[in-house]
Amino acid sequence: MHEMFVGTRYKFMAKRKYFYVFSIVLSLMTVLSLVLHHGPRKSVDFTGGNVMTVNFHPAATVDDVRDAVAKEHLESAEVQMSGDNTQAFVRFRTTGNDTSNVFSRFEAQMKTKGVVTTFRSMESVGPKIGKELEQKALFAILWSQVLILVYIAWRFRRWSFGLGAVIALFHDVLIALGVLSIMNREISLTVIAAFLTISGYSVNDTIVVFDRIRENIGLLRRMSFAEVIDKSVNQTLSRTILTSGLTLLSVISLFFLGGPVLHDFSLALLVGFVVGTYSSIFIASAIGMDLSNWWVRRKARAEAKATKTTVVASS
């Protein structure tokens, strides 16, 4: 029988402060990168505008492409080349929505430089639709988090754990966003889909741990809360790591073999799933515990205060 991470007794809860610090540092780096880049870099899906993807044979130089674009007088054009210079993404604005002849004119320009250009795709989004899509994307992310919070709070009868799970998954999405921002990748509709998938998936691991905590609380009445959580996390550790590893195999394969269209999508998933596994082991239950302890202490203090007042009054 092959085994790993079986019978471990790591003391996760005792060291939780280090993990909090680590997560806060990662989150701050995300915020810093977002500030430096003036917010997330949005794709044409949200900003409106056009992006044309073309292939070259043989490979073209950036200067040639820039030159061809400049001769076409495309408004605020930007050129981005693939690593091997056989593919270019040309971003531009148009007055009105007429993109009909852009490719054929561009193709003619490139021909004079001895490069054969083939059309791959063109995306044009009007500013109105872009704004709507942005709003819809924000709502979708918000809604999925709220619904997951409600579901966990209902299933586990503890809002502290629901909140712990949601904070953890918010943290996962935030860091995925941060990595994309640091790498200067664009946030498109597909990347938003990846974020939503991260939300659904990251909370999976957390739930498995929470389920075990729920089960163990009933069984191990002598243990402290922290001990129960440590035991539960350790018991589910092999499963958490196995599953994450296996899912990562799919994602890695999508990242390397899935082609350029899925590149940013699988990158976001890759980061989100790794961070999601980390947070469900180290962060989610820790936050759940601290929140619930804080709540218990607060209630106790309020009760103590109430008793005190009564005592004073009666004497």
């Binding site: 009909s100 739930i207 089960e215 394969s253 999508l254």
Partner: protein, 572 residues
Amino acid sequence: MTNLRIKWVLFVFTVLLFGWYLLPTIRFYSLPANPPAAVAQTTTPNDAPPPETTAFNVPIPTGTPVDSANFRYRGSDNPSIAKLRENAMKLGLDLQGGVYLVYEVDLSKIPPKDRKGDEVDRAIEIIRNRIDQFGVTEPLIQKQGQNRIVVQLPGITDPARAKQLIGKTARLEFRLVKTRQELFQALAKVDQVVAGVALNDSASADTSAVDSLLAGKNPFSGLFQASQEDAGYVYAPAENLDKAKAYLRRIQSLDRPAVLPGGTILLWGERAFGSRSGNPGQYLYAVSVSSDLTGEHVADAQVGFGLEPSRPNSAGISLTFDKRGSAIFTRLTGNNVGRQLAIVLDNTVKSAPVIRDKIRGGRASITGIDTDVEAKDLGIVLRAGALPTDLTLQEERTVSASLGSDSIHKGILASVVGFLAIAAFMIFYYQLSGALSVFALILNVFYLVATLGMLRGTLTLPGIAGIALTIGMAVDTNVLILERIREELRGGKTVRGAIEAGYSRAFTTILDTHSTTLISAVVLFQFGTGPIKGFATTLMIGLVANLFCAVFFTRLIYDSMMARRPLEKMSI
């Protein structure tokens, strides 16, 4: 025992059922995507600008014509293939290439008092009519929200032409239908051209090509059935449509019909028009080249009932012309009592009512329409002629066919590699139990693809990614169960006890993990457009299929194994 047997019957039944739904998808995608090059040449509209004069100067097509109607390919009009296509899983525009357009109908330009509330429907009708002429297989035209129209054109690689066609102002005309004799003259002319005998050039005709083509003397008109009465139209049964359309396109472009002897032009009727027999063939009309009355003179067209006293419940259209229109209409009807007057929208004959009387006063009614729906549609067509709205293009996404096929190959490769890696690990780590999980994963993908076919769903590139992810997430359920069984075995339980406890304890967790992922998928489905909807769909179907495969199916196997004799050891 009997309990197990029922479960097996249930399992085999689902496999057969889903297999049945998967079959059209497999059969459809094993057909070649396109006809051979020579056919493609004749079936795609000419890219060269149409000749300046609409007279009859047609180049003889080069290359040997191939019989497109008998060649089975995915885009064919052949009824059996059309049926297959309808029942197969669809490929998204990002995988087969195509154009996705979102138009907005600008209602603000219409004064409120002139708004009739059906502006968007009229615009959709116009767009649909034009797309039908374009010869796109499976176009999708939908209303989105209040005033948007989404147009999806699979396989179109020249968006400029599509946009040009859609953006044009609608042209509604009334044209007299020619007599049977004039129709036959026109058809005979097309026969000649198709046979390779050009009007002004008979010497250069390649006789061998002509001979091979001309088994019968009338290659074009032989494809049609003449109607019984003395009418100016013929009917092309569904199986001949491909060929007939390809032939006619040799002599005329989409928006410029060729003028045949006697001032006749040949126009197609609407698809399935007048086909209550269930055979979706199409009529071809011979109509007058000069338009007798145009749509701008139609003041209003409303659906009414009881316009014909003898049939009080049947729907009809009451038509009102403006002043000038009513004068033309009076003269037109007066001179042509007993003939048919075709209602032509953008070169498609929408209906061809018979003129019963000379109609004065600018008010006419069209009766004898079979269903209320047909009446409503015809009303929209008649009002469409004077569509006062502007269509503005808000969003356009074009994917070339080459990018589409690259995406399919890369997506499938990535999924297969991911799957193999997972399978190898599962078998290494869990041995026979792992192998069973791998089989459950394969079953999962089988149900997933079959369900897409059953729902006539669309597979997109993110959808393929969704399948890859489903494999990754589905294996989680197996790992949860197997780890739990191992734990119970370590705790000293018998194999039977460990399996029972493993399944029942893991089940609540499995339910929870599936619920949260489902929440995300549903939100995604609500929010997403096109490709992303495809991702959400595969994710949702995959989750449900997984519950069946990973929980019901694997348990069934373990139970069946234990039913014979108690297991002492488990390969896990």
